[in-house]
């Protein structure tokens, strides 16, 4: 599985309140949530984001609340992958559980700038910066998480393994 797109670049501690502010959480409709994705940190994000684009951020991306609305909003807005130096833990597991690919790579984060064209290979964790002609290594998932992701998320994984009819 691969992703390719233009980069939106953010800093440290991008929290779930700016990814999707609580004032929009009186719905759980992903399309509705996607309309306000990142609005408190970057008003142009929803106007500019294209299917396949990539978010690159520094440390502790997704800190704050447990709202799954955050990775859902990002995924539904069309983002194919989030690359960060590190992720907040609930955001990390939520992303895996709903099937939003995420990669930790401090090296990639140190070199990628806004607007760069970046390609990600999820099977190997390889990240290619097409604009700059560089490549970086992201951390590949352990086998257990690979299984969840290749099943298509936690729901199909559990249906296949724990709740067989």
């Amino acid at each position: 599985m691969k992703a390719k797109g233009k980069v939106f670049r953010y800093g440290d501690n991008v929290d779930t309140d700016v990814i999707i502010p609580a004032r929009y959480l009186n719905t759980s409709d992903p399309m509705e949530l996607a309309k306000y994705c990142m609005c408190d940190i970057d008003q142009d994000f929803v106007k500019q984001v294209q299917e396949g684009d990539i978010i690159v951020a520094d440390a502790n991306f997704g800190c704050g609340s447990s709202r799954e609305h955050a990775p859902l909003a990002i995924k539904t807005a069309g983002v194919s992958c989030v690359i960060a130096a590190s992720f907040a833990r609930i955001f990390y597991r939520n992303s895996i559980n709903i099937g939003l690919p995420i990669l930790e790579s401090p090296e990639a984060v140190a070199n990628i700038e806004a607007g760069d064209e970046v390609e990600v290979d999820f099977d190997t964790g390889a990240i290619t910066n097409v604009t700059k002609g560089q490549s970086y290594q992201g951390q590949a998932f352990p086998p257990f998480m690979q299984e969840i992701i290749s099943a298509g998320g936690l729901v199909p994984y559990i249906n296949e393994n724990l709740l067989e009819k």
Binding site: N13, D15, D17, V18, P21, A22, R23, L25, N26, T27, S28, D40, I41, A59, N60, C63, G64, S65, S66, R67, E68, H69, P71, L72, S86, A88, R89, I90, R93, N94, N97, I98, P142, F144, M145, I148, G153, L154, V155, I158, N159, L162, L163, E164, K165
Partner: protein
């Protein structure tokens, strides 16, 4: 090598003799929690699972607290969805408006979590129950749905930071000041993926409410959970609130910790987290320029318990709130509300010029009641001060203890009790 307290609880719930940091395990759960924001999403996910019923109707808790009493039509629809699900699946622990409270104050009060439990909740502050010697952590709605169906969740076994506490707080200092101090010291990702284990003879000097406040904010340092050893204080609380048997786990003497911090409680001063991160801490005596405020909120899962209102009432009794400051008092549960009423605090707050609300998360997440306009400042006993957390993106939230919040309410600027 030995195990930490958290690792021991996880090993027992995964049916393993031992686990080590980094292991991926499937653990059995004693309680699964959701609220009116996260449960509706979980209910949609639940419908995609190959099951009709929840794994155990006594081990699921559904609490409408964030936007309840319903703030608007959409919130009403979400609460209704949760109510119908609870009814349909015969969920025992569904708490309607009138019996509900802020979830993390409510569950311990109802005796639904005891020492040794493994608990997940689709709410990041589920880590609160570590105060009782339980493993508890926040997850998302998909995890919650799967847990409601199977009674299980996957975990990566965490490593741990140890906070060795000695001494006792000075007057006017409490658990909130300690946890703000710690977050200021290690940062909002200082405990990322890790347990925060509190130990030492200083623990005996912490009330159970101090411990709830401290464990509640483990997530603000990025922690997976915060946990306290079980002592006489814990056992007294557990016996008063629950009939369920509890189990005491203790860390092995040779358990491995990534870092050990020594903290003397007597060194902690009244501390405030400045906008827009809980790690931006200053002690109140470091504030040089007066910071005027528009609103004060005393409540939430962090500091909305009876002892918090007692502290505030003792400071505000017979005095008046500063002109131009709006003060919101929000007892976290119906029981706390009643206890405050019987103690006479609610009258004293109202006479001082504060307003008292039914239990709700309300302003804590900028949901309803007490939303801030652009440029407004609030001192709040809650746990997050992110950009836009309580309203407009240009508003500011300062996190503090009930003592600092009450003193600030009277003076109209951020202040400690010593300044009164």
């Amino acid at each position: 090598m030995g195990m930490t307290m958290t690792q021991k609880i996880l090993a027992a719930h995964a049916g393993c003799d031992s686990v080590k940091a980094g292991d991926l395990i499937m653990a059995d759960l004693d309680m699964v929690l959701g609220n009116d924001i996260t449960a509706p999403v979980a209910i949609d996910v639940f419908k995609k699972l190959n099951t009709e019923s929840v794994f155990d109707k006594d081990k699921v808790a559904l609490v409408p607290d964030h936007f309840a009493p319903n703030k608007d039509i959409k919130a009403a629809e979400q609460c209704k969805k949760m109510r119908l699900f609870a009814h349909d699946k015969d969920v025992t622990n569904y708490f309607e408006v009138g019996e509900m409270g802020v979830e993390h104050a409510l569950l311990p009060e109802k005796g639904l979590v005891v020492a040794g439990d493994a608990v997940i909740g689709a709410d990041s502050h589920t880590c609160t129950y570590g105060a009782l010697g339980a493993f508890s952590t926040g997850v998302g709605s998909t995890d919650m749905a799967v847990a409601m169906a199977t009674g299980k969740a996957w975990f990566k076994v965490p490593s741990a930071l140890k906070f060795n506490l000695s001494g006792a707080f000075r007057k006017g200092v409490s658990g909130k000041d300690l946890i703000l101090h710690i977050i200021g010291m290690i940062g909002v990702d200082g405990a990322l993926y890790k347990s925060m284990e509190f130990t030492g003879e200083g623990i005996a000097n912490l009330t159970i409410d101090d411990r709830f406040t401290i464990a509640n904010m483990a997530i603000e340092a990025g922690g997976k959970n915060g946990i306290f050893p079980v002592d006489a204080v814990t056992e007294e609380y557990l016996k008063a609130h629950s009939d369920r048997p509890y189990k005491v786990y203790t860390a092995d003497a040779d358990a491995d910790y990534d870092e050990v911090y020594e903290i003397n409680l007597a060194d902690i001063k009244p501390t405030v987290a400045f906008p827009h991160l809980p790690e931006n801490t200053k002690t109140v005596d470091e504030i040089t320029e007066p910071i005027t405020i528009d609103q004060v909120v005393i409540g939430s899962c962090t500091n909305g318990r009876f002892s918090d209102f007692k502290k505030a009432a003792d400071i505000m009794r017979g005095k008046k709130v500063a002109k131009g400051v709006r003060v919101l008092i929000i007892p976290a549960t119906q029981k706390i509300y009643l206890d405050c009423m019987e103690a006479g605090y609610l009258r004293e707050f109202v006479e001082a010029g504060a307003t008292v609300s039914a239990p709700t998360c309300g302003p804590c997440l900028g949901g309803h009641m007490g939303i801030l306009a652009a440029g407004e400042r609030c001192v709040s006993t809650t746990n997050r001060n992110f950009v836009g957390r309580m309203g407009h993106v240009d508003s500011e939230v300062y996190l503090a203890s009930p003592e600092v919040a009450a003193a600030s309410a009277l003076l109209g600027r951020i202040a400690s009790v010593d300044e009164l």
